[in-house]
Symmetry: C2
Subunit: 343 residues, 2 copies
């Protein structure tokens, strides 16, 4: 769209032609339910903000500090960022999440990315929590993850004056710093972790944002039916039955079967090239193999090597901008701060 | 010194008077061997640079990425920053360093801070390595720490094209990316982790940089003899016999006795309020108690509660500026990247 102002006739012809091709493909993607991350800040805020606890700079800064805070774990060694590493696509790069006392997740569940998780209609692989605020309460308490009782989390944070001051600055002087507010503040920070990608620019009219191979890949992606689950802004927001058509090749790893109705959260495809290994049990390391396995389990079709490569090519256009993440300085403990306990 | 230009007579008198007091104390500290981090960049570079592999922006950026890189560990879960957390005074906040398979250091040794470690004349508690480049090789290979064989470290890094490109940009196209260069690049980044503090400003002529309590504390610190080991720019750079006068209260924890001559590295006092617990075995959590225990073990004197509080007050003026640390994005793995192994 930008290019319609160009008057040099040669360029104009080229642009219109690219634009026309892009435009048809954008419509095809829109019709398949695929949506960009809004480029307008106000539109984006409508999608990500929490009306009950609106986003402010002070809360987000505090939430980021807490996200990187290992003293929220019993051992003092594990933070949210340990399993949802913001430098590694928001994941840990291992098959099964590994936490307190080096314990792997009992169902061999893989840590999902925290980037763009705000677009999920439900959190956790079984979709048991409605939002990021509630989600943050789970791993902090879970024995094989951060293993911290609620009272320990509250004592640690309240024992450090710098945190108390920061909560007051964010929420007012009469703030009660309890487990719910601590985790809600982390959740609020996580809501801001959205990563606009070339795909989003393409969907918003910049037809050059995807190269020809990526455009072909997008077409194949839609034609094969991938967008029937991987749609919305998150490109995978909803709960779906799993598997649908054929058994999952690695179903025996961990034995997780989804929620009581056999439904599982559809993983977002955003930043997918950064978040191997794949599937709920992290059993598949190759993105191409993951694409083919999804064709088998969910669509009941064979996706050829060539098609899988084309789709993979498109998927790499979903790698988004993480922005500049400044690493936070954490407050100093006091003699009231409960000691770390690695046992 | 800055204030000599002030012409309002009242202020001038006040400043000169403060300056005179500050000036005598600065001389006293200088005579005790205490030195500031140079404020001049060129003077600082003389202290921290490595003539064999000079500091450049490209190498430091790469070294920082590697410092935060968990895939340098066997498990893929532990980075240098895990035990030397740059948001927690360059330490982990637990008594004994805890690494691969949740193993505590066999001699119950505490992770020393990486901030200002460049000023140490030797690295490790037993001083066995001469510099940060060599030091970085230890924990990466040690079974209870990162547990990564040399070949694994080299394969992981060389398997990721983004790292190969970054090494080429830093060292030239014919670079050989081996274990020595990987660890040397981390060491080079660590050389830049110096944290100028109010104490340094004070030593450089800003007499208001310390408040009256901190000045009193500095005086007591010197008068008691603390600066006889805690001197130089690092305020603790050298190897010293330990203990000298009386047995260490928690000598039984871990049983570490120093090097073959009973010498131990004197811990830097910079950022000391952020680096509890204290001593080689992390057995003491209170800074005041640590000061008193040092009086007993090293100086053979009783440091009173009042004196310990005064000294502690001064020690807090050693908390320095960490600068803005941007959290690095890490490269994507390929099908050649050796998988993480938590066993």
């Amino acid at each position: 769209m930008k290019k319609t102002n160009i008057v040099l006739s040669g360029l104009l012809v080229a642009s219109v032609s690219t634009f026309a091709m892009g435009d048809a493909l954008v419509k095809k993607a829109q019709n398949a339910g695929m949506k960009p991350i809004p480029s307008s800040q106000s539109e984006l805020m409508k999608l990500i903000d929490n009306p009950k606890n609106p986003i402010t700079a002070a809360k987000v800064t505090l939430g980021k500090r807490l996200f990187f805070e290992p003293r929220l774990s019993k051992s003092g060694l594990i933070s949210c960022n340990t399993c949802h590493n913001l430098g590694m696509g928001g994941t840990d790069g291992v098959s099964a999440a590994t936490g307190h006392k080096w314990t792997a997740n009992p169902a061999h569940l893989n840590s999902p990315t925290v980037y763009n998780a705000v677009f999920n209609k439900a959190q956790f692989w079984d979709g048991r929590d409605p939002d990021l605020e509630k989600q943050a309460q789970g791993p902090m308490q879970a024995g094989p993850e951060m293993a911290a009782p609620i009272s320990l989390v509250e004592s640690r944070i309240n024992s450090m004056p710098a945190y108390v001051e920061e909560f007051k600055a964010a929420y007012g002087d009469d703030v009660k710093i309890d487990f719910e507010l601590i985790t809600a503040t982390i959740g609020l920070f996580e809501r801001t972790l959205v990563t606009p990608s070339p795909f989003d620019a393409f969907m918003q009219g910049d037809s050059d944002a995807l190269n020809e191979k990526q455009k072909t890949g997008l077409k194949v992606f839609i034609d094969k039916g991938c967008a029937s689950c991987h749609n919305g802004v998150g490109l995978g927001e909803t709960m779906q039955p799993f598997p649908v058509a054929n058994a999952y090749k690695y179903a025996d790893v961990g034995g997780f079967k989804g929620n009581k109705n056999g439904m599982m959260k559809t993983a977002t495809l955003r930043n997918i090239e950064e978040t191997a290994p794949y599937f709920h049990n992290g059993a598949i390391w190759s993105l191409k193999e993951a694409v083919q396995e999804m064709g088998s389990t969910q669509l009941g079709i064979k996706i050829s090597d060539k098609e899988a490569k084309q789709i993979t090519c498109f998927l790499k256009s979903l790698t988004g901008d993480k922005g500049d993440i400044s690493y936070p300085q954490l407050p100093v403990i006091t003699n009231k701060t409960p000691k770390p306990d690695i046992n």
